[in-house]
């Protein structure tokens, strides 16, 4: 992976801003029955769990607290120079305690499809799409990210994301590379809103075998074990209903020894983004981000994949 210190420095760059700036805890329209403050349930991550865009947080989605049921649904579109990803899903929460989520991802492999068809002489690769279904479960085990503003104790949750990849025509290739078509990520997340400063920080540690989040299967020949990958989000409340921030998500690189398509042909990079989340209404949030997904299958497409991330969520 290729970590760039400048990126985290950027993430930290919002902190001094907050000391001089004007943070705000979110407000909401009066009259809604919803029991949480605006944006404190996060947005929907691409894997379906409530959190940032790329990573789950310790919060539960939707606006339920106590014995209430909360819920959310989302659709997300990511477009880089050569690839596209569409994701959609939903989450249901019981109080602040448990969240169950489902999501489906559909990845357009762009130029890789044609290259595979040509190199392997198999037109079946043309138009290749990699799909994945994700079932998520998250349980809060301690703390209140928002209200415990006089302590350092964060809200902590443990979770899992069970992923079933549908690699289509690529299935046999992934099997030959030693990748399985399903896997389960296990993570622990800690989320803290520094209320007086208007800054939210999340750190997630994920045990995973996933290749490109699971779209290229799980594990690889000689790399079949879980590895621990950190993920960090920092958000700054710019006004009542707007948050800006940055995220970094480390990923395994299980195909690093694979030379079937050339050295480093399947090398995998970490992900990062800069985002702005806006809640025009308590029940609606829109997130736009600049994402850097690094190189994806650099054996075929050598340039870095950067681009736009757009996500819409409704929550109750």
């Amino acid at each position: 992976m290729s970590f760039r210190p400048g990126r985290l420095a950027l993430a930290c760059g919002v902190l001094p801003l907050a000391l001089a700036g004007a943070p705000a805890l979110a407000q909401a329209q009066s009259g809604t029955h919803s029991g949480k403050l605006l944006l404190t349930g996060g947005v929907s991550s691409i894997d379906g769990a409530a959190g940032g865009g790329l990573t789950p947080w310790a919060v539960t989605g939707g606006y339920g607290t106590g014995n209430e049921i909360g819920g959310s649904a989302f659709v997300t579109r990511v477009k880089t120079q050569d690839y596209g990803l569409t994701g959609y899903g939903a989450a249901v929460s019981y109080g602040d305690w448990v969240e169950v989520s489902i999501a489906r991802q559909d990845f357009d492999t762009g130029p890789v499809a044609g290259a595979l068809a040509s190199v392997l002489g198999d037109p079946g690769f043309n138009g290749l799409r990699l799909k994945q279904d994700i079932f998520g479960l998250k349980v809060r085990v301690a703390g209140d990210a928002v209200l415990d503003s006089d302590t350092w104790v964060p809200q902590i949750a443990v979770g899992l994301e069970h992923k079933k990849a549908h690699p289509g025509h690529l299935a046999d290739v992934l099997t030959a590379f030693g990748a399985k078509d399903s896997g389960t990520d296990i993570y622990v997340s800690a989320t803290k809103l520094f209320l007086a400063q208007g800054i939210l920080v999340n750190a997630t540690l994920r045990a995973t075998k996933a290749n490109q989040n699971g779209l290229l299967g799980f594990g690889a020949t000689d790399h079949t074990n879980y590895t621990l990958q950190p993920e960090i989000s920092v958000a700054y409340l710019l006004s009542k209903n707007i948050a800006i921030g940055a995220e970094y998500r480390a990923k395994p690189d299980n195909f690093r020894d694979n030379t079937a398509l050339g050295a480093d042909a399947l090398k995998e990079d970490d992900w990062a983004d800069l985002f702005v989340a806006w809640a025009p209404l308590k029940n609606v949030s829109l997130t736009a981000a600049y994402v850097d997904l690094g190189k994806i299958v650099p054996g075929v497409v050598t340039r870095r994949q950067t681009g736009a991330y757009l996500s819409a969520q409704i929550a109750f």
Binding site: A11, L15, L25, Q27, H33, G66, N67, A196, Q229, L237
Partner: protein, 151 residues
């Protein structure tokens, strides 16, 4: 991730933590002064805020039932004194402690958050800056431990 990367990453995390920490520290140091109390307009400002707050609480479908049968003037005075004290002003709240004061009602987290929302609306209406609002809320939010008494 290789070791080098991890070490860079954790240095970054430490930097973040240090920055946030220094912010929190600065706040602690500032606590004894009455800057926040003055920013909220001292006694006249807090009185205006609580007049507006009580009006909104009574009009709010979630909060109205909790307040309609209480002595509004008394509650407003209690709140002014309490906010004054919390903000570093020259006040000392008497009366029962927060737990006792709320023991006669069933209050869940949803109710608590609804009250915070109404307070935010009142602070908006009084033209109180976001920064100031959040500093005040950060001082009030921990009271959830004494006020919320129902799951």
């Amino acid at each position: 991730m290789n070791r080098n990367t991890l070490s860079t990453l954790f240095r970054g995390v430490l930097l973040c933590a240090a920055l946030v920490g220094s912010a929190a520290h600065a706040q602690t140091m500032a606590a004894p002064d009455d800057t926040l109390y003055q920013q909220l307009g001292a006694q006249p400002g807090l009185t205006r805020l609580m007049d507006d707050f009580m009006t909104r609480l009574l009009a709010d479908s979630r909060m109205g039932p909790f307040f309609k049968d209480v002595d509004h003037q008394h509650v407003k005075e209690e709140l002014v004194t309490q906010f004054c004290e919390v903000l570093g002003g020259p006040c000392k709240r008497k009366g029962p402690d927060m737990k006792k004061a709320h023991s006669g009602m069933d209050i869940n987290k949803s109710n608590f958050n609804a009250l915070v929302e109404v307070l935010q609306q009142s602070m908006d209406a009084q033209g109180i800056a976001f920064t100031t609002q959040n500093k005040l809320l950060a001082k009030l939010a921990p009271m959830h431990r004494d006020i919320i008494n129902t799951p």
